[in-house]
Symmetry: D2
Subunit: 372 residues, 4 copies
């Protein structure tokens, strides 16, 4: 079987992360063909050449259209800034390539809809780069839920917090422009929503209150400029099956570095998780004596597949980049027409629809139902 020809557009952190995954997926999993890293595109030609060398790609180009036209390429990793996702993904799909695109889909919902339409028309695999759902610990939480380990879930809380916007004296930059989106809502909420989708399905109704901790920020050139969007969002939600939810997202939360904290409450127990300690979760199960009732802290272990493909001993820990390798395996599965746990453009669009519903609920100060 011919090895999968890979093209990569974009060489920032996510480009590197895709490159690492394409390099490692065969060594880790064994059960796939080693992909061929064919072509790398990056607008800056010097950077394109050096990154092609670093990341192990055979060819490079400063014009991504060349990459998409390359007949040796089967799948395109799109890791550029958000506004380029739609044109690149659509062009790739129209050229008959599979697409693995970093989230979110696009700044406007219309563009995201066009991406899905292109995916449907192409018949190719079109996958969004949601990696948190690929954590073996998260997968096991899903297994526990489906086994009824905590009974019927009735309530869930999820918090996503970082602090890169926490300093009021951080210079105004594009993230504070309304053109970049609603703020924490676009930036962050898609991640918790991907986890909620993975574990419970889609959100049905929302009411959102957004937070603008700082009215303005300093400009590098002096003076200050008004902040145009919101660094925090707090959302009450209703999910399917009568589950009530609360989602809190904040990129101005001092001390939080990569927090995605999940609390899941069911009729027979509870589950806790925090991305900052991604190699563990906590489980409380009803029953037994009161004298030993408590949350059990479980460390990631080979029994949580596919942790075993990385390490044969428990408690040694996967890293953030390893999640992209697992995701890469799921992308290959989708390309091969096998069942895959990756999030495709259909579900990706539904997540973004939820974000837009949240934004509307804030501006209209009322509960909003999410369509679809």
């Amino acid at each position: 079987m011919k090895p999968l020809g890979v093209g990569l557009i974009g060489t920032g952190y996510m480009g590197k992360c895709h490159a690492l995954a394409w390099n490692a997926v065969k060594t880790v999993f064994g059960d796939v063909e080693r992909p061929r890293l064919v072509h790398l595109a990056e607008a800056n030609p010097d950077l394109a050449r050096s990154r092609a060398s670093e990341f192990g790609f055979e060819k490079w180009t400063a014009d991504w259209h060349e990459l998409i036209a390359d007949p040796e390429i089967d799948v395109v990793s799109v890791t550029t800034p958000n506004q380029f996702h739609a044109p690149m993904a659509i062009a790739a799909l129209e050229a008959g390539k599979h697409v693995w695109c970093e989230k979110p889909m696009a700044p406007t919902f219309a563009d995201a809809e066009r991406m899905l339409a292109a995916a449907k028309a192409s018949g190719k695999a079109a996958i969004m780069g949601y990696n948190y759902i690929q954590n073996p610990v998260m997968r096991h939480i899903k297994t526990l839920l489906s086994e009824g380990a905590i009974g019927t879930v009735n309530h869930v809380r999820v918090e996503m917090d970082e602090d890169f916007m926490a300093d009021p004296e951080v210079f105004f930059y594009w993230k504070s422009e309304i053109a970049a989106g609603y703020g924490a809502l676009d930036d962050f909420a898609v991640h918790p929503l991907s986890l909620l989708w993975f574990l419970f399905g889609h959100v049905e109704a929302v009411i959102n209150d957004m937070v603008k901790p700082y009215a303005d920020r300093p400009l590098k050139e002096g003076g200050r400029r008004a902040v145009e969007n919101h660094d925090g969002a707090n959302v009450l939600m209703r999910l399917g099956g009568g589950i009530s939810g609360v989602l809190m997202a904040n990129r101005a939360a001092w001390g939080r570095k990569g927090r995605i904290a999940l609390q899941i409450y069911g009729s027979q127990g509870s589950i806790l998780y925090d991305q900052e300690r991604m190699n563990e979760f906590e489980l409380y199960q009803a029953g037994g004596r009161d004298t030993e009732a408590g949350f059990r802290r479980v460390l990631a272990a080979p029994a949580h597949a596919p942790y075993d493909r990385f390490i044969p001993a428990p408690g040694h820990g996967l890293g953030f980049n390893d999640l992209k390798i697992i995701e890469c395996r799921e992308v290959i599965r989708a390309i091969s027409g096998e069942p895959s746990s990756a999030i495709d453009f259909t579900d990706g669009l539904r997540i973004e629809r939820t974000v837009h519903a949240m934004a509307r609920s804030f501006s209209e100060r009322r509960w909003v139902e999410v369509e679809g």
Copy 2:
């Protein structure tokens, strides 16, 4: 100076807790007169007699009116079920006694208003038994906020969770009747609200979504009965000074035993607290090198007054009942006309007004402003 004559109505857990506090306050603090434990009232005469002996009261009665009429009594601890608070507190105030009443004020807002009116008319100290604010750790958090240790606060989250209603097969009892109130909202929300009041002042606007995890519960006599109120409540809030808040209360949260988890985010740092580990808090302060940035876990210490009145060494830990001793000292302060950190009927009523606004916001599915 004549020692303070104390009457106690009610001999449940809170009655015992008040008795322990009245017994210990002089030994702990030294700077007050030893109160005289004069009279104990309890409807069951056998229980009244035995509890008077256990708790160290000189006299007992099965008729609380006798206690209130007792001229040797200066202050009355009201620790009976909620529906008795209003008649007892009002009678005591009208008899010219100071009152220390367990929270909440009363099942109906009208009764709570009558209590405040009686307090105002009497000119006596009328104190609500909110003990969590008396934790030396909580007091120090307030000090840190006032010192600007985390800059200007812009966001706060508070969760109060226990699991005594988490089992769907817990028999239906009065807590699930609508006559007992809204559910978690009355039962729990007043506690976090007392902390928010203590730290930030009152809540200005709310939108609340309530949760009924189980539609019905078994009856002891067989069959099942529909649950009439809500075991969970999730509330978006606006506090003064532009602070956004989220309050989550749940008495059906498996694994949570006495959780009141507070997250406070400011422009220069963050503070975390959890009542289940009431002898510590966490502090993050901006500044310094990125290589050592982190939350600092601080153990309760003598420097957090009045911890030093209990223990001269750090890290040894106060207990839940000790908070009532500290509160007792504040009650005596209020009686003596000194500045006191206890919550009086005026602020107590404002807290309950907030609860009722939350309930209305749920039934009307909209944001509600809290008056006053």
Copy 3:
């Protein structure tokens, strides 16, 4: 039945702690007579008078012999500095009083032996004030061990660390004199040894290496003085039943405030405990699926008797001083001739014999068997 007449010698922290316990024991437990706080002795007459008032004692004296001669007194709490324990306890026992003496027994082993001899001759209850064993959580750990919850124990580690001597610029004071004892060994090791005794029985053999982090300390009057004893001790131990143990004690361990960390390993599981979080323990039990294997964090609860005598709800937490109230109940039990979990002078002496064996093992750089 005549109430127990109590005398208290010493009004430092432990004096206050005993006073609180004698004041509260009846209210908490209900099932004893309320003790009568008769007589307080304190060398400074002004302090004696004011403390008698604060602590609720009827009489006071600046001469402790008067207190011991007082016929209204049945039991004497000895809470003075260590060098006074032997004369006071022996005099009290010889006067036919029960004795509740703070640990350790005495600076010299000979004095401790005389204390035990006096106790045996008197036939009275002679109890050492080891309070950590009275924690309901610790009692439950003992129950778990006896139930075989973690199988047969084969290894135990205990660390006791504080930081009051951690600063090299702490002024030289009596704690650094050899006359005050070996250092951390006397100061701290008795506490972990009381826990080991409570859970496993006595230590059989030891080898100890002591640590002197700072050769000298500043004098208030200028200059520096050589430190004469050791702020740290590390001990390998053999306990009965083939259990291997490690004991580490350090009073110069920055950041540790009241740490007594216990790790117990058995053939079917493990138990962890830390005094800094005295209202919880962790339990790991073998068996079950690897996917949910983990330490369970258990919060103190009413099911851990006698926590229920203090608080009827789990997760609310006892304080350090509450342990002395529980111990007081055990002292009364011992006085009444009932089975008591308190440590009497016989076991107390055995603990001190172990400390002295540790010291010898250090000076002789070899393993030493503990007699008895």
Copy 4:
């Protein structure tokens, strides 16, 4: 510059881990040539062929001598069982190859000495695979120590615990044979010793007490066989600079999965670390107000180089396998004659000498000085 030709002997977990590192080192670090994965050796020819394909090697052989004779190879990764390390490493060095050998060096000290002699004779880089020291967090701890962030270190404790031998009914296998070594001492102690060496230099004197929790274990064929070595070891140590240490190693510690817990106490602060949470450490620094004194939990961040080569945001976490990539970069540095933090055969031998001194101290029940 010609790319580095890599040979790999052994295809177990460590073989895979080396393969992943050789595959990723260029993509992660950028500043090296992409190594050429030339030749893989594995005794089983079918496995050799499939692993060569999976791991990305060009050639394979069932005879490792062929690999060593291959002129295209510059460096040989030795990842076979311990008894093969000496012959393979020595042959490779004698053939003029650089060697990267997994720890420990060899079951006998004589063989380890021969390895060092071969390394010295060859003039080639000869590196031991100690990966824990390569954790960016551990590197930063070393930086903090050298900066005096916690003053002068006076005491250190290290515990390494797992539970794969904790079940007394684990079948007897080679790990319990004396031929496999002393037990936990060989298996585990080298890891903590590598950390101690990295942070403080070598251990000077030891006294060790070993633990055999289970006298025998079941045989698969029925019956039981006596365990010949010790699953636990407890060691008192003296390090240079007057530092006292305690090392505890236990492979029968239920609930511990990959624990390497380090406590470092200095004159101005303390540092804590646990390998089970390898992306964080805790720092306590003296000074400041008592009211905010506490351990600060610091999450791994780009500022802890070379974390930034993997992820540009803090709190996202490296994995265990990432440490081998960092180590690989250090191996390349050593090969290039640059300063390298990897442990070479000289220091590797010193670590093993310490292990043997510990064993002797146990059998002779006395303190033993470590030579060299």
